[in-house]
Symmetry: none
Subunit: 296 residues, 2 copies
DNA sequence: TGTCACATAAAACAAATGTTGCAAAGGTGT
DNA sequence: ACACCTTTGCAACATTTGTTTTATGTGACA
């Protein structure tokens, strides 16, 4: 992302004074600067989810004669960047500590990027597709992820809850984690997420589910993970990181892909469910786009 | 200039068989590839000194349906180069009702890999380092992430809790989310995670923290996120995905990098704390490496 | 010279683009 | 409740776009 861009700064500085629609347009432009130069205004507005006129109005709001000035500016920036690619000066931090920090960060991030990219190998893709199919045909999906894997399990459940009532998150205080399985049977599937070191509780519940006849889909970290033995489908993702800790980023990516695949099975239904959720949250006043005034 | 461009090679290989006007058009395109993507065909032809129709004829001569294919190709190449990274397929043009699962998965994963790789740009690295510094010098870190961002907040807290008692997770049932801030003051820092759409509750709590004098570090998705205004340090990560949903994978990666940086401030202390945590969990019999025999 | 094939220019065309005007909707303050 | 102002969606507008058609020119060969 480019830094010293006067128009960009101008948009940011005047952002707070914009109407919601103008903000939406501005936000899209800030986040997709290349697109501004590469596609027509109408297509841009379509992708940004606003009316074409909003783009023109945004231009006027920024004291520009018309939208073409916005485009011209971004086109110029793109020309510049494409040419002067080599001339990109990396600002070095003087601070030695910062330097080390930057290096560690970069190593971690590029490692993660590589691991996720590696998930797109054909073998993984097949496993993902198979797992998604199994989840799709289940009556209910019980989601289990304890300790570090809680984040993945919860996110999967949160997203799927937007689509419908199919998932049940196995979690709870006072050792009630497993209670959700009471009414589970062979028509259901357990999505179990666990990585090394494997939580004993997770494994016990997976085993219990197996005995109750549930199908089991696992997201785990190794071909020799104890989950592989009990699971019908296992998706493997690396958890190694350049830091002290294991990483759950690839696992989260896997979970998001599963959500995407499931939603893709019936796109219109998914869209409709999402719109319903949107309306519901809107009526609950759940979201805001600016810091709300403090209630007293 | 980029080399491996099939269309470019195609133009070159058929160049000798072209009429003079076609050659002139082709030559201009070869020498000004960016312009093809950035200006209209009529303007391009004007600059190239040929008739507009010549451009269309050139496209047909190259066995393409029309000129737009030439432009689309150059636009894609430019998108590619401007990012500096490989594998970019960010088009929403896939209206195919039932896209092949493998294809969707691959696009999602490669998109995520790209987004994470982009976080390792110098600007982001600096922000990460600054944020980590601020978190390190705080007495206590309050971690706030609601709704979809819960997964990230929780994971950060979970990892940091392995290192010590520095973090407090702002979460809880019965609308007690904010209670943790009761004893917070200017020596503390709030780590706020929120993405579009921004949860009103998160913003309110961030504002409250600000008023109590806490430092604020934000993980959010845009320069114009409402959090940017109240935060001392903001780290931006993309949330766009090729699926229906926003992605939190880059945000999780950011959080993991922050954990890594913090642990790195005092490696020996971190190592020791982790060993202590290990021993504790071991004595609790928390983990297992094989499916345990069922208790009766 | 005639005519044939082809390259080019000019004009005509439908489709799209960016812009503007207007009315409905939404919110604010009295 | 009312009037007032802003915001928004819609449709019409004149342009501009990429393409196709038509006309004009050019050179080769009998």
């Amino acid at each position: 992302m480019l830094q010293n861009d006067p128009l960009r700064d101008h948009i940011i500085s005047r952002f707070d004074g914009m109407s919601p629609q103008l903000q939406q347009a501005a936000r899209y432009i800030l986040e997709h600067p290349q697109e501004v130069a590469l596609v027509s205004m109408r297509e841009l507005s379509r992708n940004a989810g606003v009316q074409p006129s909003t783009m023109t109005r945004l231009a006027k709001f920024l004291d520009l004669p018309g939208y073409d000035d916005i485009r011209a500016h971004h086109a110029e920036a793109l020309r510049f960047r494409a040419d002067g690619f080599a001339a990109r000066a990396m600002q070095h931090s003087e601070n030695e500590q910062d330097m080390a920090a930057a290096q560690l960060s970069r190593r971690m991030l590029q490692g993660l990027a590589t691991q996720i990219a590696r998930l797109s190998e054909p073998a993984s893709l097949e496993r993902l597709a198979a797992a998604a199919d199994r989840l799709a045909q289940a009556r209910r999906v019980y989601v289990l992820g304890l300790r570090s894997c809680h984040s993945v399990a919860w996110h999967f459940h949160y997203v799927m809850a937007l689509l419908g009532e199919k998932t049940i998150h196995l979690d709870g205080p006072a050792d009630t984690v497993g209670d959700g399985l009471i009414r589970a049977d062979a028509e259901d599937v357990l999505l179990a997420i666990s990585i090394n070191p494997y939580s004993r509780h997770s494994l016990e519940l997976a085993q219990l589910a197996r005995e109750k006849g549930l199908g089991i889909v696992a997201i785990t970290d190794s071909e020799v993970s104890p989950l592989v033995g009990v699971a019908d489908h296992a998706i493997l993702c690396s958890t190694e990181s350049q830091s002290f800790f294991h990483t759950l980023t690839p696992a989260l990516a896997v979970s998001e892909v599963l959500c995407g695949l499931l939603a893709n099975k019936d796109r219109t239904a998914a869209l409709e469910a999402l719109q319903r959720a949107d309306r519901h949250l809107l009526s609950l006043n759940t979201y805001a786009s600016a810091i709300p005034r403090r209630r007293l």
